[in-house]
């Protein structure tokens, strides 16, 4: 037992000095492996961060959210003409036991003029009163649209619009006037900042929007269409049950209307599936570069064995067993891949940081990714070092002593 420790210790020190002696080859091998390992690191880190990000978004959004949308996969023009009826939305809470709250909107687009200046451009959303609660829109001042504001020219402005209005010189936003597509609206409230949830199958973009009563919007909009319903289910309900109830409800109202019903759990699953595709892609890149790097390492080690045949034979003459020689070269290749691995971990974490900068996700160092990187590096060292080490161990010492190396 003591013998193994002693050999391992002496060998790792000698491995370092012999790797130093073959500097250029060592560096080339390091590059190959580090690209492979950095892919592994980036793959796991980005996956981890994205998952975390999704979880966070749903935590703020609430996991009991249900989104109903006209199906994008309708092919017949007849099917496309079918509309979601506002009255059906308003009746959802009463008719569907699992639904506690439901809001909807009609979405339009336009510019906003205030006090003679353009204060923004974005969506003009005709909404029901519940839209604020189901979409978690924070009312900062005044009040949100009420279902009693039928046909009134009232509006609630999003955070960015309110800011622009203040910049235009208006301090009291409530009560001030804003012109939307040629109609003058009275502002009755403003929203706080809302971060967009990219996991939802619907864009709300509340910060750059103006919200008006849905009745008003149907009157002003040339093509008033309900594009989405956001609802809330009772907590702790099986999502399959909820989606089934919602689907059945709308089918009973209009059998020709084809809808997609999404629950939060379903969306999380869908996102995870998407992440898997992404992970698979990175895994492919990672394993290809690992194989390329590994073959490079194997080549380095084979050359090293060929060049050091005399050294191997001398060691054998001094009492080294085949196993000792094999472990010496295995240790050497593991040291090589571990060094490449450490370099790769650095590169991988840096790449992850860059990806986070682009996507706006919160950067974090995933310990699992670092551990996996080290494990992969070690494994690559053992795997690609095995054949060269075996060759070294099987070398006939007589031949080695006669050779020039």
């Amino acid at each position: 037992m003591f013998r193994i420790v002693s050999i391992a210790r002496a060998n790792s020190r000698e491995a370092l000095s012999s790797l130093r002696a073959a500097r250029l080859r060592t560096i080339l091998g390091l590059i190959g492996i580090s690209v492979g390992i950095s892919s592994v690191i980036a793959m796991i880190s980005v996956g981890e961060i994205a998952k975390q990000q999704a979880r966070k978004q749903f935590e703020s959004m609430g996991t009991n959210i249900v989104v109903v949308r006209k199906s994008h996969s309708i092919s017949t023009s007849e099917g496309r003409e079918q509309q979601i009826q506002l009255s059906d939305v308003m009746n959802m809470t009463q008719s569907i036991p699992s639904i506690t709250d439901a809001g909807t909107r009609i979405s339009g687009y336009g510019g906003f003029v205030h006090a003679g200046t353009e204060v923004g451009e974005g969506s003009i959303q005709g909404v029901t009163q519940s839209f604020a609660s189901v979409a978690k829109l924070p009312v900062r001042s005044g009040r949100f649209i009420s279902d009693l504001d039928i046909n009134r020219l009232f509006c609630v402005v999003g955070y960015d619009i309110a800011l622009a209005m203040r910049e235009a010189g208006t301090f009291e936003i409530e009560g001030s006037l804003i012109e939307l597509e040629g109609n003058l609206f009275t502002v009755i409230g403003s929203l706080g900042p809302v971060s967009e949830n990219y996991a939802l199958p619907v864009n709300i973009d509340a910060n750059r929007s103006v919200f008006v009563p849905i009745s008003t919007s149907s009157r002003l909009n040339s093509k008033p269409e309900i594009d989405v319903i956001i609802a809330r289910s009772r907590k702790d309900l099986n999502y399959e049950l909820v989606t089934e109830e919602v689907t059945n409800y709308f089918r009973s109202r209009n059998p020709d209307l084809v809808l997609d019903v999404f629950s939060a759990q379903q969306l999380i699953k869908q996102m995870e599936a998407q992440m898997q595709t992404f992970t698979l892609l990175l895994a492919t890149v990672g394993s290809i570069s690992l194989i390329v790097g590994g073959v490079g390492i194997m080549n380095i080690m084979l050359v090293s064995v060929a060049e050091r045949r005399r050294e191997i034979a001398i060691r054998r003459a001094l009492g080294a067993r085949r196993g000792d020689i094999q472990s010496q070269f295995l240790i050497e290749s593991v040291i090589l891949t571990m060094a490449g691995g450490l370099l790769g971990i650095g590169i991988g974490l840096a790449a992850t940081y860059v990806i986070c900068q682009f996507t706006g996700w919160d950067y974090l160092v995933s310990p699992i990714s670092v551990v996996s990187g080290l494990v992969t590096a070690t494994f690559a060292g053992l795997f690609f070092g095995y054949q060269p080490a075996r060759q070294a161990a099987r070398l006939d010492p007589i031949v080695g002593l006669q050779s020039g190396g």
């Binding site: 013998r3 050999i7 002496a10 002696a21 050294e311 003459a317 001094l318 067993r321 000792d324 002593l401």
Partner: protein, 254 residues
């Protein structure tokens, strides 16, 4: 130190090399018994099989047929692991071209056989320093081989061969790469080790002057060993008292 187990015995050893269609009979029925503590020279023409014989005795090479008894064991039956262990514990090698590892210091080179014995680090260092002291290389401990002269390299190699306190030391033309004076130093050193530590030594040499200094002289010819009995008998009478005086004379002058 001397032990009946330490004697070695070769019985009817044959070694044949086959390269393609050509077969070379190198050893053709070698019979040899070497007593523990003996100092034996082996001479022979180039290509006569001296190195082959030495590698066989050192358990690096395997005879095509015949029995080789080393440390009381028939080595034909042993596996690589057991052969390596026997070799590491009981055999020291000294080569014509020194065969020191170029990246290691003198101290590390000398300690290397102990690595394969599983010695502790402090013990390795202590033993290696001891051996370097015996070959008067204490002041070159941290030199690498390329920073040493030929004679110094061979002295480090002898220290390395003796660091495990082997019962058998095999020297294949240890003076072949050295000038006459340095060569003599090395032979004197080997004789001293033989006399003081009782280690059995086999020296392969082309130099009759070197051979004459050995207790027993052998000649390899046509794959067989011939013994120079008469000469050995004369030498054995006058040899032993000479060793010490010879050695000290060398040390004081060199």
């Amino acid at each position: 130190m001397k032990d009946s187990r330490d004697k070695l015995e070769l019985v009817d050893i044959y070694k044949t090399y086959r390269v393609g269609p050509v077969t070379t009979q190198v050893l053709c029925g070698i019979n040899l018994e070497v007593a523990a503590g003996d100092l034996v020279s082996i001479m022979g023409a180039s290509g006569s099989g001296k190195t082959t014989l030495m590698n066989t005795i050192g358990l690096l090479d395997h005879p095509t047929s015949g029995a080789y008894i080393f440390q009381g064991q028939n080595t034909a039956k042993l596996k690589d692991k057991q052969l390596s262990t026997l070799r590491g514990r009981h055999v020291g090698f000294v080569f014509q071209s020194f065969h020191l590892l170029p990246l290691l210091t003198a101290l590390e080179n000398v300690a290397l056989p102990l690595v394969y014995q599983g010695e502790s680090r402090s013990q390795m260092k202590r033993r290696a320093l001891e051996e370097l002291e015996k070959v008067s290389m204490s002041d070159r401990v941290n030199h690498r081989p390329d920073q040493l002269s030929g004679g110094q390299k061979q002295r480090v190699a002898i220290a390395r061969a003796l660091v495990v306190q082997p019962s058998l030391l095999l020297a294949d033309e240890p003076t072949g790469a050295l000038d006459p004076d340095t060569a003599n130093d090395v032979i004197v050193l080997l004789k001293k080790m033989n006399a003081e530590q009782g280690v059995t030594i086999l020296i392969i040499t082309h130099d009759p002057a070197v051979a004459r200094q050995c207790k027993r002289q052998l000649q390899i010819d046509n794959g067989q060993l011939i013994e120079n009995h008469v000469k050995a008998a004369i030498d054995r009478e006058s040899f032993v008292p000479d060793v010490g005086a010879d050695y000290f004379a060398q040390v004081t002058t060199g």
